[in-house]
Each structure stands twice: as C-alpha cells, then as structure tokens.
C-alpha cells in the first residue's frame, strides 16, 4: 500500500503546472495571473512540505523515494528561495519583455525536477529529476530569444550539460553492473570489497554532479551562461540547482559509498581546492557583475565541497549551513543588481556601481554588508559559514585543505573589496530609479538583516541542520 500523503507535494506541483499551462493557452494575456498563481502555488507547496517535516524517515515506491530530515530541509530551502526569486524578478521580466506564460511554468517544472532529485534514493529516479530540471533550465537560459547572448548561453548550457548527463548515465550503468542494483541502500549492502568498476562509476557520476554545481574543472559553462541569461534566470541558476545537486552529492557519497571514502575523498578534495583557488583568482579581472558572481559561486562551491570531504555528519551539516547562508547572500546580491535600473535599462557592469554610496546610501550599505559577508569577514553570516566548514575540516586534521581554503579567502577578499571601493571611493554617476517592486525591496531587506544579525542567534539554523544525520 502506497502512502500518497508522502508525495502529496510532488503530485500537487505536477497538477498545478499542467493546470497553469492550460490556463495560459486558453486565456489571453494571462501572464500576470499565472505568475501570481505560481507564487501562490509555491506557498501552498511550502505548506505541504512543512506538513511532512515531522517525518524522520519514510520510503515510498520500493524504497526508491525517500523522505527524511535532509530532504525536508533541502525542499524547504528550495521552495523559500524559489519564492524569493520569483518575487524579485517580476518587474525585470516585464521590462525586458519576456513576461510570458511559459516562464513561470518552466520554473515550476524545474522545481519539480529538483524536488524529485532531493528525495531520490535510486539512481534512476535521481536521473529523472535531474533531466527534468535541466531541460527546463536549457529553455530558461535562452528565454530572451531575441538576444544573441541569451540564445548562445542556452545552447552552450544545453550541449555541455547533455554531455555531462551522458557521462553521469554511463556512471549509473557501471554502478548497476557492478553492484546489481540502482537503489542506494541496496548498493551499499552489496559492496563487500573495492571493485574498480564501481570506482569508475563513482568518478563518472561525480563528474556529472560537479558540472551541475560548476566545480572546477567542470565550470567552463558557468561564466558565459550566467552572463548571457536574463538576470532573473541567472539568479535562479545561481541558487536553486545547487541545493538539489548538493543533496544528491550527499546522498550518493554518504549512503552507498561511505565505505569507499578513500576512493572518492581525494577527488572531492581536488575539486574543492581547485574551485576555491580558481574562483578567487579568475574573478579578479572581471568587469561584468554577473560574470563575477559566476566565478565567485565557483569559489563558494569549493568551500561547500570542502565540508563534504570530511566523511562525517559535522562535515555534511557544515556544507548545508554554508549553502544556506550562501543562498541568502546571493539572493541579496542579485536583489541589488536588479536595483541598478535607470530609464527602463538594467546595468550590470561593475563600473556602473561607481559612487553609488552618494546617491543611494541604503542600497550601498546593504551591498557593503553583503560583499563583506561574501568575503567572510566577521561578524557577518559569511564568516560563520566558512567557520563551520573549517571546524569540520580541521577535526579530520586536514590542515592543508583548511589553510588553502583560508588563503583563497584572502585572495577572494580582494575582488569583493574592489567592488566596495568602486561603490564607496569612486566618483558618483547618475542616479538610478528607485521605484522598485515591494517583493524586491522585501527580499533585499530580509536577506541583509539576516546576514547582519545572524551572529546574535546562530543556534536557529544550527539546530535545524543538526538533525540531519546521514551516517
């Protein structure tokens, strides 16, 4: 007997998105209605997921779908970020004239894919979720189809992502071949000794996943796609797929293959170090804000991966906290980018920020806090995110990783400081418009306050995350 209550959120979202599609086809000029309905349905979805959040562990569909603390937390994180992303970007979509009915529907289907990924306990279910979210993202990236850069980025993302999905699928087949199952729990039971076929399978799957979170050396798509896509899609790219990919990372490495940690640990350490250093160094020369965010997100993913190298629950928890805080910072930063609007044009070069502090003191102050937090300067939230990671890493005596990580924060601090310098020390330019939507103002305000006062009560998130025990 299948308990359909457990997948009520997934059923609800599938039905909603079909319904919205039909509404959009039959009713003229309904983009605004659909946009608002999407936000509403995300709220309902959040309520449904919260309703299930007391469940410690439950399986469904022959153990291939899992509801536990990890999936609950990550789903809530996904949904909250999705709501804020939707709130921030409505005005932008209208102004660059891509406010169409397909947009929210694609976003919803991508979110459905992520939620499936987050709960998957089986390679096939996981692959299905992954493809669903990626397909929606290919279209979203090229959504501004009259724009050359946007089309290019969609195509680029499609080609590279399809390649990585192929590798990932090949890895799945290797693992199935050597362990006889696609279910994570069964795989872990069938592994008795190290088989090189399995190691190869792990490597292929890690390549696919690293591509999704844009870890070095599988990062090449990120800067172009971030720059080319419409900003409202870039913010989506920068936040949501990472949550789902990290969840799969955790589940895949820590459930079936925790006993083969000495096989994959070095790979993750390499990915982590390479991402941290590359992200820090490559961002220095950037002129476009979105491109800079792409490089900085590569660097930040390096820290998230550093938490995963430890092989302990503390490590996983620190990665999750890091990701959560990073999402808030990213949301805040993109809210600021959305605010750089003058006469219906959006600006996204770093030079456009010049002297911002004279005309827009509050906006600049928020950016100051966000950027120092991204650089990891205490007492802002970004520092604590890094602190938990290094705490977990040093517990395992991986001093090399910790020191490299900390040194690259110093390098990274340089380009964050550069932006602050441009905002605060440089001569001013023309004023920007200030008539922003309430959703945008609200998300900037809330996220900045979160970053600023996280240190007063850090236990809130820590308590939630400390329930996530995989091992």
């Amino acid at each position: 007997m299948i308990d359909f209550n457990l997948i009520l959120p997934e059923i609800f979202i599938s039905l909603t998105l079909m319904f919205l599609l039909i509404v959009g086809v039959f009713k003229k000029n309904s983009s605004s209605l659909i946009y608002n309905l999407t936000i509403l349905s995300l709220l309902v979805l959040l309520a449904l997921v919260l309703n299930l959040s007391h469940i410690e562990e439950a399986f469904i569909f022959n153990q291939s779908y899992k509801i536990d603390n990890l999936s609950n937390f990550m789903k809530i994180l996904t949904l909250i970020s999705a709501i804020f992303v939707m709130l921030t970007s409505s005005k932008y979509l209208k102004l660059i004239k891509i406010f169409k009915i397909e947009y929210p529907v694609l976003i919803l289907s991508s979110i459905l894919g992520m939620i499936v990924m987050i709960s998957s306990n089986d390679l096939i279910v996981f692959y299905m979720g992954l493809e669903l979210q990626s397909l929606a993202l290919y279209v979203l990236a090229s959504f501004n189809r009259d724009n050359l850069l946007s089309t290019e980025s969609g195509l680029k993302y499609f080609v590279l992502s399809a390649l990585s999905s192929g590798l990932l699928l090949y890895g799945c087949s290797l693992i199935y071949g050597f362990s006889g199952s696609t279910n994570f729990d069964e795989i872990s039971l069938s592994i008795s000794n190290v088989q090189y076929g399995l190691t190869f399978g792990i490597v292929f799957i890690l390549v696919g996943l690293a591509f999704k979170i844009s870890a070095v050396p599988f990062h090449m798509w990120a800067p172009d796609v971030y720059e080319g896509s419409p900003t409202s899609v870039t913010i989506f790219f920068a936040i949501l797929p990472k949550i789902a990919a990290l969840t799969v990372f955790i589940r895949f490495l820590y459930v079936p293959f925790i006993n083969m940690i000495d096989q994959w640990q070095m790979i993750i350490i390499f990915l982590s170090i390479a991402s941290m250093i590359f992200g820090a160094v490559a961002a220095i020369g950037q002129k476009n804000l979105k491109r800079l965010v792409a490089y900085s997100s590569i660097g930040h993913m390096g820290y998230v991966l550093a938490g995963l190298t430890t092989g302990t629950n503390e490590g996983i928890q620190s990665s999750i906290i890091y990701l959560s805080i990073y999402l808030v910072m990213n949301l805040a930063l993109f809210s600021c980018i959305f605010m750089l609007r003058r006469n219906e044009n959006y600006f996204e070069n770093i030079d456009d920020l010049s002297g911002l502090s004279k005309n827009h003191p509050v906006l600049s102050f928020s950016m100051l806090i966000i950027l120092f937090s991204l650089a990891g300067i205490p007492p802002l939230a970004g520092f604590f995110a890094k602190f938990y990671i290094f705490k977990a890493v040093i517990e395992q005596s991986m001093y090399f990783l910790a020191i490299v990580g900390l040194l690259s924060t110093v390098i990274a601090a340089f380009y964050y400081l550069r932006i602050i310098k441009i905002i605060y020390f440089d001569p001013e330019k023309e004023k920007y418009d200030t008539d922003h939507s309430i959703g945008l103002k609200l998300s900037l305000l809330l996220s900045t306050i979160f970053i600023l006062i996280y240190f007063i009560y850090p236990n809130g998130i820590n308590d939630l995350v400390s329930k996530i025990n995989i091992i």
Binding site: P361, F372, K421, F425
Partner: protein, 498 residues
C-alpha cells in the same frame, strides 16, 4: 540583578551608531549626530572610569565575568577584565571622544557615516580587550577591519585606495592562520574558553606551531619588522581621527594579544621563540628609527616611530620579567596618548596648510606659540624624557631586558638615542628656524577645541610621568600572576625533559 557592565560598554557605542544611522542626513543635522556621538562616547568613558573605580586590583582573577551561551555546545560569549585589559579599555574610551571632537575640521563630507564608523570601531576595540573566549576575540579582532577599511578608503588622502587595500589584505592574511589555530585548539582541548585553557594547558608538542600561527597575526598588527610596511601607508593616507585610532588603540590589540594569548596559552613556545622576538624587536627599534630619520613626511615619520616604539613593547613582553611586562603595558598606554597627540598635532597644521612635508614648515613658534608648547610636550613624551609617561615605560622595559640579556638591552638603549634624534630634529625643522614659507603667516594658533583635545592628552602624559602609581597598581597583581604561571609551566616542562 547585576548590570552587565562590560556588555554595556561594548554595546553602548553600537547602539549610538545605530541611532545615528537613522538620523536624517541633511547638513544641519550633522551637528546633532555629532553631539549624539560625543555624548555616547563620553558616557562610555565615564562608565569605564566607574569600572576602574570598582575594580579590585588585589586579586588576579578575571572580574565582572559574563558567560552566556552563544553557539550551542561550542562557544560561549564570555567577557571579563583583569588588571591588564582594564587599562586598554579606558584608553579606548578616552581616545574615542577626542577623535569625535577632532572631526570638527578634518572631515568635510559624510560626517554621519564617519561617526558611525568610529563608534563601531570603539565597540569592536572594547570587545577585543575584554573577550575571554578565543573565537569571540577573533570576531572582534577581525571585525575591526571593516570600519577601518572604510575610514581610510573614504576619508583618506590621495593614495587612499592603495593604503586601504594594503591594510585590509595584510591584516586579513595575518589573521587567517590564527583562525586555523583557534579551531585546532578547540579540537585538542574541547574548549576555546581562555580561563579554562589556562588551567588545562596545551600539549607542548603543538605549542610551537600554534604560537607561530598567533604570531603571524599579531606581528602584522603590532606591526613588527618585516611586515610593518602597511602601517606608514595607512597612517599617511588615513584622516587624522583614523590615524589616531590606528596608532593609539589598534596597534595595542596585538601587544595585548601577545600578553594574553602567546604568553598565557603557549609558555613553552614563548620561551623557545624568545631569540626570534628579541631579534625582530631590535631590528624594529634600530632600523625603523633610522628610516624615520630620513622621512620628509611628518605622518610617515611618526608612523615609523610607532613601529620602533612597538619594538620596545614586544621586547619588554618577552623578557618575562615583572618590570619588562609592566613596562610594556605602560609603554603601550603612554604611546597611545603620545602618538595620538602627535597625529592630532600634525592634523592641526595639515588643516591649515594642506601639506605634511616637513620642508614646507619652519619657524612656526613665532606664529603659533601655544601649538609649539604642546608639540614640545609630546615630542619629549615620544623621546621618553624623565617626567613624561614615555620614560617610565621605556625605563622599565630596559630594566627588565638588562636582567635577561645585557647585549640586547645595550642595543635597545641605542634606540632611545635615535628616537631623540629624529623627534628633536623634526621639532627643530618644523617649529624653529626662519619663516621661509610666506603662506605660513596666515596660520592661526590653536582653536579652543584643539586646545581642549591636546591638553587633555598632555595632562595624563605628564601626570603618569611623575606619578605612575595608579597604573602600576592596577596591573601589578595580574602581571605577577601571569609570570608565576608562566615560570611554573616552563619549570615543569624543563623538569620533565631532564
């Protein structure tokens, strides 16, 4: 219920800053935000004096300790003071209102933001001096980078961007290793509470590495040769109030850190690294004094003299004698007063002439006699003439050093002579001589508020020169307790190895 007096001290300026943030910013209201800032910082000063008054200097334990849960099961927010830290707190609360008064003329744009930055700086600096948990200390220590970066960068001189970046990145680079060390200490001992760590002690195998990690951070902040080069740049470009904060208080954080953490937590390693510290301190004293002689920019000259004076401080701390450490603390307080005053003095004539080049001045004594008198007092204080507070500090340090190492003390004494050379030469070139530059004639003598600031720094400089008792009494028990603990640890270690 007891009032949490230390937390009030820490929070009060932050609340003031918060309040000023919401004052509407048009030009007339700037005055009101200034009065708010002044009022808050004076209230904080009185509160810290009250703290000193009720402080019991006959016991060595930490007093007014507050211990609250913070990051669950890991770090507590713990603050407390002993005889060493209380003086630095008073120095901080004393210097801050003077900085706020001095912005009258120096800061023209964005006064409101400047006051917020200064008040936040005060919060963080007081936090550094009373935190009794390594992580809390780190938080305050690093947090200070943000307002200081902005102070130098927004209100600084021509090369302000370069200096602000250099200051920020140097200090950040120095500090990250300290964070690794703090986390390692947590995993070794299970706590980051300083008081508990004093009792538990840290495994001697790891002390050297941990000591070095802390040392890199403190050495950059002190600053010690060869990582001192950020200081002259930062000082030259910072606005007057920024230089004052930097010289008077920020540099003292590192000296305080050496005493509290390097000596207290890693006694064996400290003993091991004494020759290194002696060497670096001597280089700082002799080399930077020589460099100071050759400067043609007044602020740069005083900045280099700060490096030399801090060289005395580190030398004194690592003599591990009662005189040496007391002298170092005394020297830090005295340097806090004197260097603050010297930077303010430079600020006074810079406001009038808009140049800091020594060659542009000369013969000021005939137009600004009041200024000449005050500058004389502070010059003599910087030289360490008997009767000023600088003398007591340097004398005690040299006494402590002679006890331990004759050669080092002899070389260090040469530094005193060099200090006299560059300070008196500076004074001669600026104040005496002929009035060559006609522009100088337009200069007016000190205004009322400048007189107020400078005399309120001159009085303690002279007072503590003749009557150092109150300061010495406050620190005596804490210092002797520290040394006792230190010697005990070293003896046990040596006993084990023989």
């Amino acid at each position: 219920m007891n009032i949490p007096i230390l937390s009030s001290l820490i929070l009060l300026p932050a609340i003031g800053a918060f309040f000023i943030f919401f004052v509407k910013s048009n030009n007339k209201k700037y005055q009101s935000s200034k009065y708010v800032a002044l009022f808050i910082s004076l209230a904080n000063f009185l509160l810290s004096l009250y703290l000193w008054f009720i402080f019991d200097n006959t016991v060595s334990e930490f007093q007014f300790v507050e211990n609250r849960k913070w990051i669950a099961g890991f770090v507590n927010y713990k603050v407390g003071v002993d005889g060493i830290s209380i003086l630095f707190i008073i120095l901080t609360t004393f210097i801050t209102p003077l900085c706020i008064i001095s912005v009258n003329s120096t800061i023209e744009n964005r006064l409101k933001d400047f006051l917020i930055a200064i008040l936040l700086m005060e919060t963080l600096m007081i936090g550094v001096f009373c935190s009794l948990d390594l992580l809390v200390f780190y938080l305050f220590f690093e947090g200070g980078l943000i307002p200081m970066f902005l102070i130098i960068g927004i209100w600084g001189g021509e090369r302000r961007v370069y200096s602000a970046f250099k200051f920020f990145l140097y200090t950040l680079l120095g500090s990250v290793l300290m964070l690794v060390a703090i986390i390692s200490i947590y995993w070794m001992t299970g706590t980051t509470d300083v008081e508990k760590l004093y009792v538990i002690g840290i495994d001697t195998k790891y002390q050297n590495l941990l000591w070095l990690a802390f040392f890199t951070s403190f050495a950059v902040k002190t600053p010690m040769w060869p990582v001192h080069t950020w200081l002259p740049d930062a000082h030259v470009e910072a606005p007057t109030a920024g230089s004052v904060l930097l010289a008077a208080i920020l540099l003292k954080m590192a000296g305080y850190g050496f005493i509290r953490f390097s000596l207290g937590l890693f006694p064996i390693a400290s003993e091991y690294f004494i020759p290194l510290i002696y060497f670096l301190s001597l280089v700082a004293i002799i080399y930077t004094s020589l460099v100071a002689l050759m400067q043609d920019d007044m602020k740069k000259l005083i900045a280099y003299s700060s490096v030399a004076h801090m060289g005395f401080v580190t030398l004194g701390i690592f003599t591990m004698t009662q005189q040496g450490i007391e002298g170092s603390i005394f020297q830090m307080i005295s340097h806090g007063l004197v260097s603050a005053a010297l930077f303010l003095c430079v600020g006074v004539i810079y406001d009038r002439m808009h140049t800091r080049l020594i060659s542009q001045y000369g013969g000021i004594v005939s137009i600004m006699p009041k200024y000449a008198i005050l500058l004389m007092i502070f010059t003599l204080g910087a030289i360490g003439l008997p009767g000023t507070s600088g003398f007591i500090g340097e004398f005690l340090i040299l006494m402590g050093t002679f006890k331990k190492n004759f050669l080092v003390a002899t070389i260090a004494s040469l530094g005193v002579i060099l200090a006299a050379a560059y300070m008196l030469w500076l004074y001669k070139r600026v104040v005496f001589g002929k009035l060559i530059n006609d522009n100088l004639k337009k200069m007016v003598d000190l205004k009322k508020y400048e007189i107020l600031i400078l005399w309120s720094l001159a009085i303690p400089t002279i007072l503590f020169g003749f009557y150092p008792e109150p300061l010495i009494n406050t620190i005596e028990v804490s210092v002797s307790n520290l040394i006792e603990m230190y010697n005990l640890n070293v003896e046990i270690y040596l006993g084990k190895n023989n």
